[in-house]
C-alpha cells in the first residue's frame, strides 16, 4: 500500500481526510508542488512529519502521521530523504557554531562611534545649536563678507567696505586701495556709468546707458550697501540685475 485516500487533489476543493479537518494549510499552501504530487493523505501527514523532524512533540496528529508512515512506502522514502537533509543541516549548523568572530571588530565599531559622537556632544546640546542654525551660519557669513569681496573685485579694499559698513577705524586704511585686475566692464566706474550707481544711491537724472533703458529711480539704498538696482530696458519690463553684478 502506498497511500491512503483515492481522490486526486484539486486546488480549491477541501477534502475530508487525515484529521477530519475541512481546511488544512499544509494541503492548501504546501500542496502537490512540494509534496511530489502524492496523495492528499500523504501530503497532510508529510507536513506533520516534517514538523516531527523539526522537533514537534507527539500529539494526536503526530501519532496518526507516524501510523501512516508505517504503511506508506512513499512517505517513508520522502521522510528518509528529508531526514538526511535535516541531519546534514544540523552538522553544518554545529560546525558554524564553532566559529568565533575575528578579533578587532570592536576597535572598528568604537572608531566609527567616535566619528559620529561629536554630533551628540553635550556642549553641542547645551548650546542648542540646531542643524538649521549651522546651515544659516555660512549664509549669514556670506552676506557679511559679500560687500568686502565685491569691494576687492572693484578695486577697493575690505577696509573700504568696512568704512561703508561703518566699521570704526576702517576709513584710514580705506585710503590704500589694493585693486585686483578685473574686466573693465565690471569696474566700479563702468558700473557707475552703466547703472548710475554712486555711493549707494541711484540718481534720478542720469541719462540712460547706451543701448539700454532708463534707470528706475529707487532712492538711497539702506545702510550704504550696494543692493541690486532695477534696470528697465528700453522697451520691456523691469529686469532684476543679478545680485553679484549689482554688488560689484
Amino acid at each position: 500500500m502506498t497511500s491512503g485516500g483515492g481522490r486526486p487533489r484539486r486546488f480549491g476543493v477541501a477534502h475530508r481526510s487525515g484529521g477530519g479537518r475541512w481546511f488544512d494549510p499544509a494541503r492548501w499552501f504546501g500542496g502537490a508542488r512540494w509534496f511530489g504530487g502524492g496523495h492528499s493523505t500523504c501530503m497532510v501527514h508529510r507536513a506533520t512529519l516534517l514538523e516531527v523532524l523539526d522537533g514537534r512533540p507527539r500529539d494526536r496528529a503526530v501519532e496518526q502521521a507516524l501510523e501512516h508512515l508505517g504503511r506508506c512506502d512513499a512517505c517513508r522514502r520522502d521522510m528518509a530523504e528529508l531526514a538526511l537533509i535535516v541531519a546534514g543541516l544540523r552538522r553544518l549548523g554545529a560546525a558554524a557554531r564553532r566559529l568565533d568572530a575575528p578579533g578587532g571588530g570592536w576597535g572598528r565599531v568604537a572608531q566609527r562611534l567616535g566619528e559620529t559622537r561629536p554630533s551628540t556632544a553635550p556642549w553641542l546640546r547645551a548650546g542648542r545649536i540646531s542643524l538649521a542654525g549651522l546651515v544659516a551660519l555660512p549664509l549669514v557669513a556670506a552676506l557679511l563678507v559679500a560687500p568686502g569681496l565685491a569691494a576687492r573685485l572693484t578695486g577697493q579694499t575690505i577696509a573700504t567696505a568696512g568704512a561703508t559698513l561703518g566699521v570704526p577705524g576702517a576709513s584710514a586704511s580705506a585710503q590704500q586701495p589694493a585693486p585686483l585686475p578685473v574686466p573693465e566692464a565690471l569696474h566700479a566706474a563702468a558700473l557707475e556709468r552703466a547703472f548710475a550707481i554712486s555711493d549707494g544711491s541711484v540718481a534720478d537724472d542720469v541719462p540712460a546707458p547706451a543701448g539700454g533703458g532708463a534707470v528706475t529711480p529707487r532712492g538711497p539704498l539702506p545702510d550704504g550697501l550696494l543692493l541690486p538696482a532695477l534696470v528697465v530696458p528700453a522697451n520691456g519690463p523691469a529686469a532684476p540685475v543679478p545680485s553679484t553684478m549689482a554688488a560689484e
Partner: protein
C-alpha cells in the same frame, strides 16, 4: 578578581544610558552570534564583519528601543539579517561583487567522515546558497543559530506559520537540489530515487 558579568537587563539599561563601556560589553556578548548569522547568509568573511559592525552601529543609534525585559539577540539578529539580505539583493542585481572565496565551516573533518557524507555536506552548503533569501534566512536561524520557530518568527517579524512553510519549502528545495547533484548513480542512500508516489500518480 574579575567582576561578574552583568545580566542582560542591567547591561541593556547601561547601554540605553549611553555608557560606552557597557556598549563594548554588549558588543562582545553578542558579536559572535551576529557574526555567525551574517557569515552563514553571506558566505563572505569580510562582508560578514561589515554587517556585524553596521549592526552594532545601528543598535547604538537605536539603543533606546532595546527592551531590557527581553533578550536583545533577536532584535540584533533582525538588524543583521536585514542588512545581510540587502547585501544579497545588491549582489543579485550585480551592484555588489560576489565573494572571492565561498566560506562555510567544514563539518566533515572527523576521521569517521565518509566521502559520501562530505560530498553531501558540501552540496548542501551550496544548496543553501542557492535558496531564495527569505528561506535562507530561516534555514540559517534554525540550524546555525538553533533558534526555535517562535524566535525566528520574532526575528523576521512574521507569523510562525510563515516560518514553518518557508522552512519546509527550503527543505524540499534542498532535497531537489541534492537529487540533481547526485542523480542517478552517485546518490547517497535514499537520494536520487524517484518516489513511488511520484511515478504512480493518484489512484483513480
Amino acid at each position: 578578581m574579575a567582576e561578574p558579568e552583568p545580566d542582560d537587563a542591567s547591561l541593556v539599561n547601561s547601554v540605553r544610558d549611553g555608557d560606552l563601556k557597557a556598549f563594548e560589553a554588549f558588543y562582545r556578548r553578542y558579536e559572535t552570534a551576529v557574526y555567525r548569522t551574517a557569515l552563514a547568509l553571506l558566505r563572505d568573511e569580510m562582508a560578514a564583519e561589515e554587517v556585524v559592525a553596521d549592526t552594532f552601529l545601528r543598535a547604538h543609534g537605536a539603543r533606546q528601543r532595546i527592551d531590557p525585559a527581553r533578550s536583545p539577540l533577536p532584535w540584533l539578529q533582525r538588524i543583521a539579517v536585514n542588512l545581510a539580505l540587502n547585501r544579497l539583493r545588491r549582489r543579485s542585481l550585480g551592484l555588489e561583487p560576489l565573494p572571492e572565496r565561498d566560506r562555510w565551516p567544514d563539518p566533515a573533518t572527523g576521521p569517521e567522515t565518509t566521502v559520501e557524507r562530505r560530498e553531501m555536506t558540501v552540496a548542501l552548503a551550496q544548496g543553501i546558497a542557492r535558496l531564495p533569501a527569505p528561506m535562507r534566512a530561516v534555514v540559517v536561524l534554525r540550524f546555525v543559530q538553533d533558534s526555535s520557530l517562535a524566535e525566528i518568527a520574532e526575528t523576521l517579524e512574521c507569523p510562525v506559520g510563515t516560518v514553518k512553510s518557508r522552512l519546509h519549502n527550503a527543505l524540499r528545495l534542498l532535497r531537489d537540489d541534492l537529487r540533481r547533484e547526485f542523480e542517478p548513480a552517485a546518490a547517497p542512500a535514499g537520494l536520487g530515487q524517484p518516489l513511488p508516489g511520484e511515478l504512480e500518480g493518484p489512484a483513480a
